[in-house]
Symmetry: C2
Subunit: 141 residues, 2 copies
């Protein structure tokens, strides 16, 4: 099971927003994309989803940008992942009518619940990246 890039990107950009949450300033897509090495065009779609889920607030027009909707301590991996993917973290199939299909499905539902529990224990605060260097440049070997 591969964790979707979209979810990973969402965590990264939210961590980035968390790092400047105290300032109350908005951050623009271009800058966020540069900091996390993401495609701006794709990042926009992710941020839109996060806004619809109530995790970020956007301001349009000139000097617009994005802002975390709540304190980083109050946003968990569980919320982030649930915002991106639909109803469940681990989604099992509708079932094929096999004799043990129902039991198997139920077992994975339990696993999903356990996973939600553990994801609910990891907050954005733990994801805040190490202190940024003063020069804005990144080093690539």
């Amino acid at each position: 099971m591969r964790l979707p890039l979209k979810t990973e990107y969402a965590c990264q950009v939210l961590a980035q927003l968390a790092s400047t949450f105290a300032s109350g300033q908005v951050r623009q897509v271009e800058e966020l994309a540069a900091a996390e090495h993401l495609s701006p065009n794709y990042l926009v779609q992710i941020l839109t989803t996060l806004r619809q889920a109530g995790l970020v607030i956007s301001r349009r027009g000139k000097n617009g940008g994005y802002l975390l909707a709540r304190h980083p301590d109050d946003i968990t991996l569980a919320e982030i992942a649930m915002a991106l993917e639909g109803g469940a973290l681990i989604e099992s199939s509708p079932g094929n009518g096999g004799k043990s299909a129902e039991r198997v499905r139920h077992a994975w539902v339990r696993v999903n619940e356990a996973m939600l529990q553990s994801c609910g224990g990891i907050t954005l605060t733990e994801l805040i990246p190490p202190l940024q260097t003063q020069d804005g440049a990144d080093w690539v070997i």
Copy 2:
């Protein structure tokens, strides 16, 4: 994150094998496929993977078939899923060099460990399907 059908099928067929483990008799692909509503050709590939992982034993030739390698109490969801997928249940991407990529990756590694823990607590015994009816027919509405 969708649970791969392959993994779900593996659980189903292992549950089926668990239900007759006590008898010591082998079960044939055609019969297993019928009981779990799976494609025999596809099921063979899954069973081969499970055999390579040491979860089932196969006997070739006439009167051949498959048998659970260990007691159902001793086989967990974690082992099954790890046998099908590669190194981890939740596999995060290589990382894109973003400022918070490393932290995010590490967080999901922790989630993966928690998930392994919870999957390790569910055994095949819990997946054994309800008692089979004597007539071999299935009912579809």
